[in-house]
């Protein structure tokens, strides 16, 4: 019996585009096991990002349900949803989405402000996290002064700020070169193994698929197959 941290049931998302309905997601059922490294894989337009958004509570489904720890997130009000994003889920985006006017340290501190962490504690933890991702020397640099790989590492540190148990990563290596991509993947893998953080990465990067415990293959908004690497 697995402990499912995230589960979807008949999850569908339709978009109206010029009079035709596009089924970005069509009755998707996935079960994410707590503490595993998961990949959502498929060609572009297969619904990876849409699924990512649904699971992260960033967008509402047309029909079907998303459960996080057996709670239907459609039942949550705006406050509870924001709470979920703040405390339980860390997001990593392909385009990093750092706040340009803030330094690396301030970017990592931001989620902790919303979580009500005191100023001194925030700083201490942000420095720790940035050291962990190897950016201890770049604390006061702004995103524009950092390379793409460094920006993504700031984003990882930020995603970890409130000690989430799920990390959602949308094409985390999509804008990075091979070597930097590998570094990011190994940071995520380490987090997963050492802290037991559940990782869900939407990707078509084969290197991410290699390290995953479970791979969900998507095509045209449906789950084509589920591949378990470590059958335990």
């Amino acid at each position: 019996m697995f402990d499912h941290i995230v589960e979807t049931q008949n999850l569908s998302k339709h978009f109206e585009l010029g009079g035709t309905t596009i089924k970005a997601l069509d009755n998707v059922d996935i079960k994410i096991v707590r503490g595993e490294y998961n990949s959502l894989v498929g060609p572009s337009g297969s619904g990876k990002t849409t699924l990512f958004n649904m699971v992260g509570g960033l967008d509402r489904p047309t029909s079907g349900k998303v459960y996080i720890d057996e709670i239907d997130i459609a039942m949550l009000d705006a406050y509870e949803l924001a709470w979920l994003r703040c405390h339980r889920v860390g997001y990593i985006f392909q385009t990093f989405n750092l706040i340009p006017v803030l330094t690396a340290l301030e970017n990592v501190s931001l989620p902790m402000i919303f979580a009500g962490v005191s100023r001194s504690e925030r700083k201490k933890r942000a420095v720790e996290l940035l050291n962990m991702v190897g950016l201890g020397e770049r604390l006061h640099h702004r995103p524009m002064e950092l390379s793409a790989g460094q920006q993504q590492r700031v984003a990882i540190a930020r995603a970890l700020a409130n000690d989430p148990d799920i990390i959602l990563a949308d094409e985390p290596t999509g804008n990075l070169d091979l070597q930097t991509g590998l570094e990011i993947i190994s940071i995520l893998r380490k987090l997963n193994q050492e802290k037991g953080v559940t990782i869900i990465a939407a990707t078509h990067d084969l290197k991410i698929i290699d390290v995953s415990d479970t791979v969900f293959w998507l095509r045209d908004g449906r789950i084509e197959k589920v591949e378990r690497k470590n059958a335990d």
């Binding site: 967008d59 720890d69 703040c86 989405n97």
Partner: protein
């Protein structure tokens, strides 16, 4: 892992204390300094015109020792139109400023910000713009009014300028400029704060 961190039974909160909101707003203003100057400048200009007319009247009235201060109808309308133009300009500037920050707002919402937190940051910025613009406008307006009055009436007019009325005027114009700044921010800020995170993140400028 045994920890169950559910929304319903976890006591941890999400919040944006006023002091933190102030420091974020302050950073925003500091780091977008050119835009801030333009906004403050347009508020100051409208308020300066208003103050100039009012103070000229006050100085003249005090010099002539007449009881009441009358503002001519055309002056009144001139000021109204200038404040209206100033307000429209501010709404426009604020709309553009919020568009520029859509992605940032989306990001903040992904990190746990509530609509009211986003509103708070924008309104505090508006408050600061209103205060600074109002004060600058008042001093510029008063200075030009007193100077031109003295030029016409002689230096005596300066000593006869009533301090109490002037201070009263300061309070009025500053509240007016803060009000103007906040009112013109509400619509753009509400529009931005209510976006769902995905719409906001998808936004390209």
């Amino acid at each position: 892992m045994a920890r169950t961190k559910n929304v319903r039974d976890d006591k941890r909160k999400i919040e944006l204390p006023l002091l933190e909101a102030f420091s974020i707003s302050f950073e925003q203003i500091r780091k977008r300094f050119k835009r801030s100057i333009i906004v403050v400048g347009s508020i100051a200009l409208g308020i300066a015109l208003l103050t100039h007319l009012e103070m000229t009247n006050i100085v003249f009235a005090a010099y002539m020792s007449s009881a009441g201060v009358t503002i001519e109808a055309y002056q009144f309308w001139l000021v109204m139109v200038s404040l209206f133009v100033c307000g429209v300009g501010l709404i426009n500037a604020n709309l553009i400023a919020t568009y520029e920050r859509y992605r940032e707002i989306g990001t903040m919402k992904c990190l746990g910000a509530l609509d009211q937190h986003v509103m708070k940051i924008f309104l505090i910025e508006a408050l600061i713009f209103g205060l600074v613009g109002g004060l600058i406008g008042f001093f510029v307006g008063t200075l030009t009014a007193v100077a031109s009055s003295c030029f016409q009436l002689g230096i005596d007019a300066l000593w006869k300028t009533p301090l109490a009325t002037t201070l009263q005027n300061l309070g009025l114009t500053t509240s007016l400029s803060v009000g103007l700044s906040i009112v013109s921010t509400v619509y753009p800020a509400l529009k931005a704060a209510r976006l769902n995170p995905i719409e906001a993140l998808r936004h390209d400028v």
